[in-house]
Amino acid sequence: MTQIVLRDVRKAFGEVNVIHGIDLVVESGEFVVFVGPSGCGKSTLLRLIAGLEDVTSGDVEIDGEVVNRVSASERGLAMVFQSYALYPHMTVYRNMAFGLENTHMPRAEIDSRVRTAAEMLQITDYLDRRPKALSGGQRQRVAIGRAIVRDPKAFLFDEPLSNLDAELRVAMRKELAALHGKLGGTMIYVTHDQIEAMTLANKIVVLQSGRVEQIGAPLELYNAPDNIFVAGFIGSPRMNILEATVEEAGAATRLRFGNATITLPAQASLAPGDSCHIGIRPEHISVAEPETADVIATVAYSEHLGGETYLYCDADGLPQITLHQTGQLPVSRGQQIALHFERPRLHLFGADGKTIANGVSQ
């Protein structure tokens, strides 16, 4: 059981700062996911924790001990690489045993550990094969097995599922979650796929340009994003973000977006003339009667999947609005529909991108 703490961790490659002061506590036994667009520094952050890169300033603590000067091999962490990084010249067995051999563990113990892990991951049949002779999913298991046998303080995963096909990815995701349940170890997982983040994490860390945008439980991020970036990043399909200007403030706040207006309860921080953003998730827009409509739009494209329906609608002066409804909607392309935004699920962001309100009353 291991707690990992980052204190104002910074990393610069030459003149380029890639990590701008990150504070983070990974509690023991937690499954933490670093998520963010490519180039946000999430992999670098993981490598800083692993010890494969040195921090420029700040501290990395493992179990209360600062490990800035401790080499990767001495930190007692195990890492699963995106490319799996299996040694091509060794059999699966030797791949898994390699880390243990380096610690001069007795052969019998190595053998029992490797076989236990292999059984857990159902790769016992391939122990004598070379990685070349394995499929992507099997290689993935071996890479995880190599981490498990070490019985590390914490597991680090660097986009481990990104090389698998979609179906396998879903299956492996489940297995990883089950594995975490079984092993109960601290795990840090890097991905750019927010679905992986939502399904696996106890705690998600959303990163952008080397800064933490928000830390929280998956649903916390979904329901109450701190800023427009997190709101846009978490959730699929993406939240609709509509630019708006404040027309009237006071007893009620009236916002104009495109050719439409919306009246909301008073927002103290908004003054007339201010610009802001309205955020509404596709699943929180409903098709309504024209009287209660917030905006009238034309269906540009529709996807009827039977169980659910996606509509992509155009409205004057606005970007395309996505709408997601369960069940089937009798709507076809080119049809005009009235859209209603569910007020309790509506988000308001200021001009600086910070959240003003997550949900407003009716």
Binding site: A50, L52, S71, A72, S73, E74, L77, A78, M79, F81, Q82, S83, A85, L86, Y87, P88, H89, F98, G99, N102, T103, R146, R150
Partner: protein
């Protein structure tokens, strides 16, 4: 399953394959055969000539016009003579041609006898007789140097030098390459350039300083004098380094996470993965060392420590060149290189393709 669909052709079928159908030759077939035959003659002609000549006697070598095959004069035992007599085909005055054995030669006349009738001596002008010869291999060309001139010793020395030097070369070159490829540090490129730069210094320039160093270290006339100075080759470092650069960085990092020491990473991960490049360098090193001549000639002055190439040179006196021995021992020196080529062909082609070296 594949065998039932596609039958692999035999060697003969491949060699005699042609474009023309129904047994006829297409003009490209003719062209190809002519071209390839020329190539074979050009490549193998000298080697075949060398091997055949190495079995000729000294007299056979300087004969004009030269003969292709090594020939030796037939000798016959004749009653009344202790030694076998050389056999000639003589044209007698009456125009008949007979095989006669020569007893002795006086001036331009040779005294001959018929082996069947040793009593009567026949005088024949030497212009009227021709030696009767048969295909005969002069094995003494091989036996003499190997027995009398200690050539086995040279061969051993060469083998020792080649093996030891190749092992040392592989070890230190791969270690240097590891440092210059796996570690990222300031000046890495500059060091690499420096290493490559030494390629531009010809051996003749550094001959004297290196000789002085070797002398100071007391290594003259020991095999170490040949093994050590050339052990670190810029080409080798370059070749291995370029190959090691292609090893995924993830593997090295995975090994670090696996608590492998730097030595373990080098020895257990990088070296096995660099095997193709190591094999190429090994082949090159073997060829370089085996054929090395100038440097051993300078530092090895006692015949006990001669390598083959230097030993060969010893047959070449100022006034007298013992071509028959040189040719025979050249064949001997060729054998190991030929074997290396035969068994490691695959690596050599990939090596040349990947490095552009020969």
């Amino acid at each position: 399953m594949a065998e039932t669909l596609y039958e692999r052709p035999s060697v003969a079928e491949v060699v005699t394959a042609k474009r023309g159908r129904g047994g006829r030759l297409h003009w490209t077939d003719i062209f190809t055969y002519v071209y390839l035959t020329l190539g074979v003659l050009l490549m193998f002609g000298p080697v075949v000539w060398l091997v055949l000549s190495s079995f000729k006697t000294p007299a056979g070598l300087i004969e004009f016009p030269p003969t292709l095959l090594p020939l030796g004069q037939i000798s016959v035992d004749v009653e009344g003579y202790d030694k076998p007599l050389p056999l000639f085909r003589a044209t007698l005055e009456d125009g008949s041609v007979r095989d006669l054995a020569q007893v002795r030669r006086i001036g331009i006349v040779s005294q001959m006898v018929d082996p069947a009738d040793p009593e009567t001596t026949i005088k024949v002008p030497i212009g009227q007789r021709e030696p009767v010869r048969e295909f005969r291999l002069a094995w003494e060309n091989y036996k003499d140097p190997l027995e009398r001139f200690n050539f086995m010793r040279y061969l051993m020395n060469s083998v020792i030098v080649t093996t030891a030097a190749t092992l040392v070369t592989l070890l230190i070159n791969s270690m240097a390459a590891y440092g210059l490829s796996i570690y990222e540090f300031r000046g890495r490129g500059a060091i690499m350039l420096f290493v490559i730069g030494t390629l531009m210094i010809p051996i003749t320039v550094i001959l004297v300083p290196v000789y002085l160093v070797v002398t100071k270290l007391g290594m003259v006339n020991t095999l170490w004098a040949v093994i050590l100075p050339g052990a670190a080759t810029p080409t080798g470092v370059f070749l291995l380094r370029q190959y090691m650069l292609t090893i995924p960085k993830d593997l090295i990092e995975a090994a670090r996470m696996d608590k492998a020491s730097e030595w373990a990473i080098y020895w257990k991960v990088v070296l096995p993965l660099a095997m193709p490049a190591i094999a190429v360098l090994a082949i090159f090193s073997i060829m370089w060392r085996w054929n090395e001549f100038l440097w051993p000639l300078i530092v090895l002055n006692r015949s006990e420590v001669y390598t083959l190439q230097v030993g060969l040179n010893a047959f070449q006196g100022e006034l007298d060149v013992q071509w028959h021995y040189i040719l025979a021992m050249t064949v001997v020196t060729l054998i190991p290189v030929v074997l290396v080529f035969a068994f490691l062909q695959k690596f050599i082609t990939t090596g040349i393709a990947s490095s552009g070296m020969k």
